[in-house]
Subunit: 133 residues, 2 copies
């Protein structure tokens, strides 16, 4: 792809902030489980994981700790953060559309991730990240 292509860096970044998550409560504290679910969703939509990091925060008394995690994609990244004490999750899906238009894959991936958590409400934002080269 030539650097003269004006669309080459037109990335799509989706955000979803979830409240009232009605999934099994343990999911919000299960770093390995969340990593596995996210990897599986990425595979289903045809994107490519090239790295990952997940961290579970310590419990606070009887309250299980939350999870923060990121999947590095060949197409950019997925990030998630959970707050079990509030039933809250925030999600990012960013695809760069470098060698293909991955927008539909990103939308589908976000829908799959949101459905994992069964939220009562979702606040969504999205924006283009366009960098002329």
């Amino acid at each position: 792809m030539s650097s003269a292509n004006p669309d080459v860096m037109k990335g799509l970044h989706l955000l979803a902030d979830l409240q009232g998550c009605a999934c099994l409560p343990d999911l919000l504290s299960d770093a390995q489980g969340l990593a596995a679910q996210a990897r599986a969703a990425v595979q289903v939509v045809g994107l490519t994981v090239v790295g990952e990091a997940f961290h579970r925060f310590p419990d606070a008394g009887v309250q299980p700790g939350g999870v923060t995690g990121c999947l590095l994609l060949a197409e950019s990244h997925v990030a998630l953060h959970t707050w079990p004490e509030f039933g809250v999750v925030t999600l990012d899906v960013y695809v760069c559309n470098y060698s293909a238009d991955n927008s539909a894959r990103a939308e589908y991936l976000m829908a799959m991730l949101v459905s994992l958590f069964q939220p009562r409400a979702v606040e969504r934002q999205q924006f283009l990240r366009c960098v002329p080269t």
Copy 2:
């Protein structure tokens, strides 16, 4: 902190999309170097790294591959993606303001990260991620 606090989930997400990066070209392909620089900047501003993943893409002929990376923070995350062939970098700094207002730290961190790359131009976006609990 009580879940009744309406501000508890008022996070700040900063984005900067950089073009014409005039840093040493090797930086854009140096996954270990970028990870070290990002970790150091996080430490300077008083945020906390709890995990990381960085990946260098393969070279394309004589063109060095780019880097995609993420630092997990106790306060949410930093993400970066480089395209050496275009002199382009995209940056994310997301802080959750859970136990303190980290907005000023996030702004300072983003300024430090942007300055690493010496861009000719920067497109910035920012948004609040507010989830009532």
